[in-house]
């Protein structure tokens, strides 16, 4: 097995562990929350049910079983691919997730891409912008972006771009049209840490001797940005990019709510509000899996971006081979 494959296999093994831990922690957290989904749903005054009626419904759901029984049942269910039923709506969790996932995946992807583009633009302007005060404004942009409440941002974007200017329709938009504003809303706060890191990375790279050398070769700032600085500055940004996945999920909660999009984010918000444990557990598992995969991808990307990291594996492999030969 090549070291890369072995590495991936090892990481996937760890991923399974992380999945299990996240699942268990989430399950425990949910048990700590007072009241359960059945109670939250059927004690709703609009139903006007009496306490006895609620109790009998709860026991029919098994919601009154001890926590470890519930945990064990849901765990074995998950292991056999049965994610159970939503307490709130009664729908199969797998149905709900299957319906919600594609839309969120598309939104997350476009939001991420937009965040990267935005972060790069901000970082470039903050690093190279002229006059200086303009660059300083862009330098402050990340802290500005992160202190804008997302819901407010979403509302303002909708008010201006959709309702005032009529550029995009909120009702019955086309698939692409529906994506534009949520993407923007998601991307702005997401881009902040990325831009922040990029600004610092660009400054650091520009202080490197090889940039000085490029300048001495007659390269202009723009040429160097593209050919010399960009890839080097990408390295630290990559770490943050991996971390952003979590933010992406959190951002999707607000964005999907504001834009009335169905998706994992909206589902999460509803599930939390309704104490819908089976749905929440499924979301945790999916988010964890996504997170682990994204970070694995990031880790695998490092050597692609930075050839220095490739070397280590290669020499290591050669050494291992040789040493094995020596022992035999």
């Amino acid at each position: 097995m090549s070291p890369t494959l072995r590495y991936i296999a090892g990481r996937l093994g760890q991923a399974v562990l992380v999945l299990f831990l996240a699942y268990t922690v989430a399950a425990l957290l949910l048990m700590i929350l007072p009241g359960d989904g059945v109670l939250a749903r059927y004690a709703n005054p609009a139903l006007g049910l009496s306490a006895e009626q609620i109790d009998s419904i709860r026991s029919s759901y098994g919601a009154d079983a001890p926590w470890f029984v519930q945990y064990w049942q849901s765990l074995t269910g998950f292991l056999t691919g049965d994610m159970g039923y939503s307490v709130n709506s009664g729908a199969a969790v797998s149905t709900l997730i299957a319906a919600a996932l594609p839309s969120t995946a598309v939104l997350a992807l476009s939001g991420f891409v937009a965040a990267v583009v935005l972060a790069v633009a901000v970082a470039v302007l903050a690093s190279y912008g002229r006059p200086r005060w303009l660059a300083a404004v862009f330098d402050s942009a990340p802290s500005l972006f992160i202190s804008v409440p997302v819901f407010w941002l979403g509302i303002v974007i909708i008010q201006v771009l959709s309702f005032q200017l009529g550029l995009v329709s909120m009702v019955d938009p086309g698939p692409v049209e529906a994506l534009v504003l949520p993407t923007l809303t998601l991307a702005i706060p997401l881009s902040a840490p990325l831009a922040q890191i990029l600004v610092r990375a660009i400054a650091e790279v520009r202080a490197q001797p090889f940039v000085h050398v490029a300048r001495a070769k007659g390269a202009g700032e723009a040429w160097m940005l593209v050919h010399t600085v960009a890839r080097n500055a990408m390295l630290p940004a990559l770490t943050i990019a991996g971390l952003l996945f979590g933010e992406l999920v959190a951002g999707a909660v607000v964005t999907e709510t504001v834009f009335g999009r169905a998706g994992i984010g909206a589902l999460t918000a509803q599930a939390v509000a309704n104490r819908d444990n089976p749905v929440l557990l499924a979301i945790v598992v999916i988010a964890t899996a996504g997170f682990v995969l994204v970070n694995l991808a990031v880790d695998l990307l490092y050597p692609v971006v930075d050839p220095r990291l490739r070397h280590r594996g290669r020499v290591g492999a050669a050494a291992r081979r040789q040493l094995k030969g020596a022992h035999a």
Binding site: Q14, L21, A22, S140, L144, S147, P149, W152, Q196
Partner: protein
């Protein structure tokens, strides 16, 4: 030399006088930033000096009045003076933001430091725990923590801080790993230093600057996250004013009474940007 040269490379081509202007320019913004932070701190300490309106009882004042000389930030949905609520909310919000960031910073950095310096299975275990923390939806995590700890600003802040642990842990681990390779760490061991001694005397002080840069950024998002909790009813109990809550409660009036979200929102932004600005200035001064 390379640092200086590269940092301002195009400069030789620029005429000399502009260079002077450039060197002074940041000072103005730094002074403004310091002033903004100073005022907010005064708000937090002696709110009574800045406003005469009652922040928790609007009396007969009409709700949703637009900003005026009498009510600088207008009045809120039940007729309380928004400016007065912002001033009186400063202490709570700043404290909450600081607690949140401190929890994330301290716990996260500790995890990152240990993981980065110990390596091996300790690192693996800690980082997998961090992965788990990162994987659980923040909303679920904070809600549970608040419910376990009990409602209130401080507890909401702690909950928000706990969700930030993972980021700090990751960042500080990356820093630690590179610092551990520095000669001065080896030299410290060579001087007879113990693991913890070296960690606290050398690794921590050197790792902290990058982590602090993130912390500054986190202040803003902490205020907003606490507001989300507040809006869901898990934060500051009514009628106490708190910035995030003021903003969040005003969301339904974005079209009718924009000042309810926009003005307190601007205050939050000003504080965050000022902190960022001041942080940058301090870092530059240190170099």
């Amino acid at each position: 030399m390379s640092a200086v040269t590269a940092q301002a490379a195009p400069a030789p081509e620029a005429p000399a006088p502009r260079r002077h202007a450039r060197r002074r320019a940041p000072r103005v913004t730094t002074v403004v930033a310091a002033a903004i932070l100073g005022i907010t701190i005064l708000w937090a300490l002696v709110p009574g000096l800045f406003t005469g309106h009652n922040p928790i009882d609007g009396g007969e004042t009409a709700p949703l009045l637009a900003p005026s000389a009498e009510h600088w930030f207008g009045t809120d949905q039940i007729g309380r003076d928004v400016y007065s609520r912002v001033v009186h909310g400063a202490s709570r919000s700043l404290l909450a933001a600081l607690i949140a960031v401190a929890v994330g910073l301290v716990v996260g950095s500790a995890i990152g430091l240990i993981a980065g310096s110990r390596g091996g299975w300790v690192s693996e275990v800690l980082m997998r725990i961090v992965d788990v923390l990162l994987s659980i939806p923040a909303l679920l995590l904070t809600l549970t923590i608040v419910i376990v700890l009990g409602f209130g600003t401080v507890n909401a802040a702690i909950a928000v801080g706990i969700t930030a642990i993972a980021q700090f842990a990751r960042l500080s681990r990356a820093q630690t790993v590179s610092i551990m390779q520095a000669d001065y760490v080896q030299a410290a061991y060579g001087s007879g230093g113990s693991y913890w001694g070296v960690l606290f005397r050398h690794v921590l002080p050197n790792a902290v600057s990058a982590v602090l840069a993130l912390a500054v950024l986190q202040i803003g998002s902490a205020i907003l996250q606490i507001s989300t909790l507040g809006f869901l009813g898990y934060g500051t109990p009514a009628p106490a004013p708190e910035w995030g809550l003021i903003i969040a409660e005003g969301r339904n009036f974005v079209a009718t009474a924009w000042w309810l979200t926009v003005l307190p929102g601007l205050i939050v932004m000003a504080v965050v940007v000022s902190t960022h600005r001041l942080g940058t200035a301090l870092r530059e001064a240190a170099q």
